[in-house]
């Protein structure tokens, strides 16, 4: 596999990952935080109120990126699952374990911030439509991954089980998403469609995109930080790890 650059191949080894990734995490945290602050302040204070929703639409600048992000995280876990099943890559397994709890919490956040947005906008905090339902199911699926990880003592078996559940769950989520067509709902149709017409006024787009990008960056940082922890835990007996614990190495 010569097309993979050396620095990336280095990351497949736990020892190098543990050392190298520290700088990455720092950068991702800094960039993500700055981006998120800029996007949020912009959305809060420097954008005019929306015609129909008034000021509560400003919640969308934090709700929509997260709601979008959690789906991407789930799909990425499924992709890591495929990678794990095909190439038996240990890092893919660690990725799955690291991303699941973060995805789970962010899904809760997306649901709650969605409810806070829905209360003044729809007049009701919860609506049974395809998107709220699919996010709710996503939460259960994330929860399932975490539980499955905990109950299977054998790591090889746990990783395989996680991969399979993530893959089946992704198919599941896609089907539920498609079913949006048959549900007549209050939810506004997906606002930004890839390669489609953009139904949002351009003035709102800048802060929204900044926040989408920065939540991606932040989530990447969180997941990598979690992976770093898991790498340390799973390699307790290794010399490099012992040295790090003893404080002989940073």
């Amino acid at each position: 596999m010569n097309f993979i650059p050396t620095w990336l191949r280095r990351l497949a080894s736990p020892q190098h990952f543990f050392g190298d990734i520290k700088l990455w995490i720092a950068w991702l945290y800094v960039l993500g935080t700055i981006g998120f602050l800029v996007g949020s302040v912009w959305g809060l204070a420097f954008v005019p109120p929306e015609r129909y929703q008034g000021d509560s639409f400003r919640i969308l600048f934090v709700h929509a990126p997260i709601a979008h992000l959690v789906q991407v995280i789930y799909i990425s876990i499924a992709i890591a699952g495929v990678v794990h099943l095909v190439w038996k890559l240990k890092m893919a397994d660690i990725y799955m374990s690291a991303a699941a709890p973060i995805g789970c919490w962010l899904t809760v956040l997306a649901l709650v911030s969605g409810m806070i947005w829905g209360a003044p906008t729809w007049g009701t905090a919860w609506v049974w439509d395809a998107r709220t339902v699919s996010t709710l199911i996503l939460f259960f699926l994330f929860f399932g991954l975490i539980v499955l990880r905990r109950v299977i003592p054998n790591p090889t078996r746990a990783a395989a089980a996680l991969s399979i559940l993530a893959i089946v769950g992704t198919i599941n989520i896609f089907i539920i998403k498609f079913s949006v067509v048959w549900f007549k709902t209050l939810h506004q149709p997906a606002s930004i469609e890839l390669f489609g017409d953009i139904a949002i006024a351009p003035v709102f787009l800048a802060p929204l995109f900044i926040n989408i990008a920065s939540t991606y960056v932040l989530a990447a940082g969180f997941i990598l930080a979690n992976m770093r922890y898991l790498v340390a835990v799973r390699n307790v007996s290794m010399t490099w790890n012992q040295e790090w614990v003893q404080g002989r190495k940073q």
Partner: protein, 221 residues
Amino acid sequence: MRYWALYRRELLIEFRSGVESLIPIIFFLLVVGTFVFTLRSFTAGDNRVIVSVIWITTLFTSLLSLDKLFKRDHADGTLAVAVLHSDAITATVVTKLVAHWSVTGIPITVLGPAVGLLAGMHIDHASMLGFTLLIGTPTITMLGALVTALLVGLGRGGELLTVLVLPLYIPILLFGISVCHLHIDSASYTSELFWCFALLTGSTTAIPLALGPILKLSQDS
């Protein structure tokens, strides 16, 4: 020949366990009965409630019966023997699933509409309910078996299975119920029915092939 012999073995085990294998069906009748009785002011004029009740009870019934799908074979070591015969593992798995469906899916497909009729459903609506259950129950068995296989030998019971399986049942549940509801409303239900068939074919082709390797891995504990 091999399939038939393996299928006979599974059925034999089911029949030998006697009354025990009837528990899920009794559970189904009990729950549907309780619902229809307590909700009779809602179900009286509206077949849609009965449809939903029967479909959801079908899911719970499957959870109850799936728990023991591989448990007995794992406990007595026959699952390990079956797994070692890797050229026969797909046959073993398929016959096991078909047998499981024969003793839970088929009775529910028959009893569901029958109970619906007793609860006051129109005959047309009841037969449509039976038809969606006929498509839906194999899908339910497949998805449930997949997750059950992941949990073989962990000594954990139904509550874990519930949390993991129910989210995966949502699509077939939604489409199955949608078909019935649209039919009751005299609306077009072709696309929902198409999805039901898609889920049926998808799960019945992919899952039996995946189960062999999963069961092999499940021996590792």
